[in-house]
Amino acid sequence: MTRFILRRLFTALVTLIISSFLVCMLIHLIPGDPVAMMMAQNSAPSPEQLAAMRHMLGLDLPLWQQYFHYMGRLLTGDLGRSIFGSEPVLTLLMERLPNTFALAFAGLAIAVGFGMPLGFFAAYHRGSWADSALMVFAVAGVSLPNFWLGLMLVLLFSMTLGWLPVAGEDWRSMVLPAMTLGVTYMAIIARMTRSAMIEVLGEDFIRTARAKGLPEGIVLFRHALRPAMISVVTIIGVVFGYLMGGAVVVENVFSWNGLGRLAIQAISYRDYPLIQGFILLFATIIVVMSVLLDVAYAWLDPRISVQ
């Protein structure tokens, strides 16, 4: 188990190094002169101003030096300064991070907390009308774009019923964005759980458990749930990645003051240091989450955790 975790941490580190390299080079992928585009908002910068900006960003150095500079600063926690407002990027990101985390985990909690039991129920009652209804709902959930769903929820709960605020900072204003995020991924998780459960319920060892005379509850919860969870956990990792991406959209729909809104602002102002910092932070969050889920996976499956 320890060896598995160490190996997993090593691959995570490699992924992060590759992402940092891509992020550092990102600025060169932009067509045209990034510095000129960045400064285009200030009416026609002089060549001196451009050169000074290039020097400040380190863009006048050879590529490999740029990367080592970037990494060197990165290791001391320096992600550069935002071009607008000139605050440290790290400070800006850390201010917003808790809001995005709260939203993403609330969304994940809704997705997993409702998706898994629904999928479990549908699998056990496979072929019943309840199963069909749930799966129709799941297809709808996956197909609805979350910005549209978000707007519809606002229309219903805020405008028509007046139960929840459209935007704000407290927990009540988090309900709608979290629901918007959650419903989409709940549908995916429900479908995955259902098919994983159906597969497990057809296994020989489930027949063995029944042949032992175990009551159905023990057969389902002790014998079927854990093996089914193994494949669902893998999907949760993938879903979490999508969910973080979805959070960017949803935050903007609901004016939720998180990283996603900051990112959109950064993009529209071409604030490259901030965009780079945002991408690197997102990559780190997703890598860390996938390591945690792999550890959970190994814990659930003794074929991995017991050498």
Partner: protein, 335 residues
């Protein structure tokens, strides 16, 4: 309860068991009027080709038929109780406690995420309401009984850490946990290597000897039958066609299907030389009718070289041809 303690008293009686798949007019009978009896301490082998209904018979006794299958007639009497009339909860209390089952595939029949100890003790804890410690102690005894080395360590291991033969020993230990009267062994050796097969057969024989457990052995392997069975029931297309003591059946089979089955067993001394360098096994012409086919007469008639007109018109009844030997054939078991 009509439980009689005399050693050779009847334990299990299956009477006119009929199982159909599907509903209404599309229903196809997979088992028809299957009847046989098993005495205490006896091993009865159910023999037949795949699709003859051996495993379905076992699952019907256990009350574990797939949902599409339905028992449409018959009785399954275990020590006098009709298992087919039991409620769901009663049946749960019977399974694993009075009848238990050993399955064919030891590789997939154990839960991969639960320890051997857990899987051995959970039945005991549920059926016998014993403490965890008592169940663990019993699990150790069981592992010793089935000849597992280092039983203490095995309790904490997972199935993937054991070989196929060891997993089958665990399956047998699990089946024995609550000291059932009857063990149904469905192809217990088929998935194993030949050398391991012999060990498992020896183990089952030893258990029967020591504990007096009755065994309903389901197999298509006549070699296993010859080593283990006291009596044999031959199934063909969902019907019992012949029942006899093991020796009697091998020496003097009466039903043409049984004869064909025995002739198809590879035996070095009986191989028929066909041409210079090819050796052929005797084979039965044709194939088993599918459950959907409605045959009014003997299901074997289309493949039988002895068939007379009556065979395809009317199903022959089981008739006694010698003491303890019955067969269903108009030609070979005529009144």
């Amino acid at each position: 309860m009509a439980d009689v303690e005399s050693p050779m008293a009847g334990l299990l009686a299956v009477e006119d068991l009929t199982v159909a798949f599907g509903r209404g007019s599309s229903a196809a009978a997979a088992l028809r009027d299957v009847s046989f009896a098993l005495r205490r301490g006896e091993t009865l082998a159910l023999v037949g080709e795949s699709g003859s209904g051996k495993s379905l018979t076992a699952l019907s006794i256990m009350g574990l038929l797939p949902t599409e299958g339905q028992v449409s007639a018959g009785r399954v009497l275990l020590g006098g109780d009709d298992l087919l009339r039991k409620s769901r909860d009663d049946m749960i209390r019977t399974r694993g406690s009075r009848v238990s089952m050993v399955f064919q595939e030891p590789m997939t029949s154990l839960n991969p995420v639960l320890t051997i100890g857990r899987q051995l003790t959970e039945g005991l804890q549920f059926h016998r309401k014993v403490s965890r410690a008592a169940a663990d102690a019993r699990a150790l005894d069981l592992l010793r009984l089935v000849g597992m080395t280092n039983p203490e360590a095995r309790l904490k291991q997972y199935p993937h850490q054991l070989s196929g033969g060891m997993r089958q020993r665990v399956m047998i230990a699990m089946a024995l946990a609550c000291e059932p009267d009857l063990i149904i062994a469905d192809e217990p050796t088929t998935a194993l290597d030949v050398s391991i097969q012999a060990q498992i057969i020896d183990l089952l024989l030893d258990i029967k000897e020591r504990l007096g457990t009755s065994i309903l052995l389901i197999t298509h392997d006549l070699g296993v039958v010859a080593e283990m069975a006291d009596r044999i029931a031959v199934l063909y297309a969902g019907r019992v066609v012949e029942i006899a003591d093991c020796l009697q059946l091998f020496d003097a089979p009466r039903h043409p299907y049984t004869e064909g089955l025995l002739a198809a067993v590879p035996r070095l001394d009986l191989l028929v030389a066909d041409g210079a360098d090819r050796i052929r096994l005797a084979e039965l012409p044709g194939s088993v009718p599918s459950p959907g086919e409605r045959l009014s007469g003997c299901p074997f008639a289309p493949r039988c070289s002895l068939a007379i007109e009556r065979c395809s018109a009317e199903m022959p009844p089981m008739r006694t041809v010698a003491e303890g030997h019955t067969a269903a054939c108009w030609v070979r078991a005529a009144a």
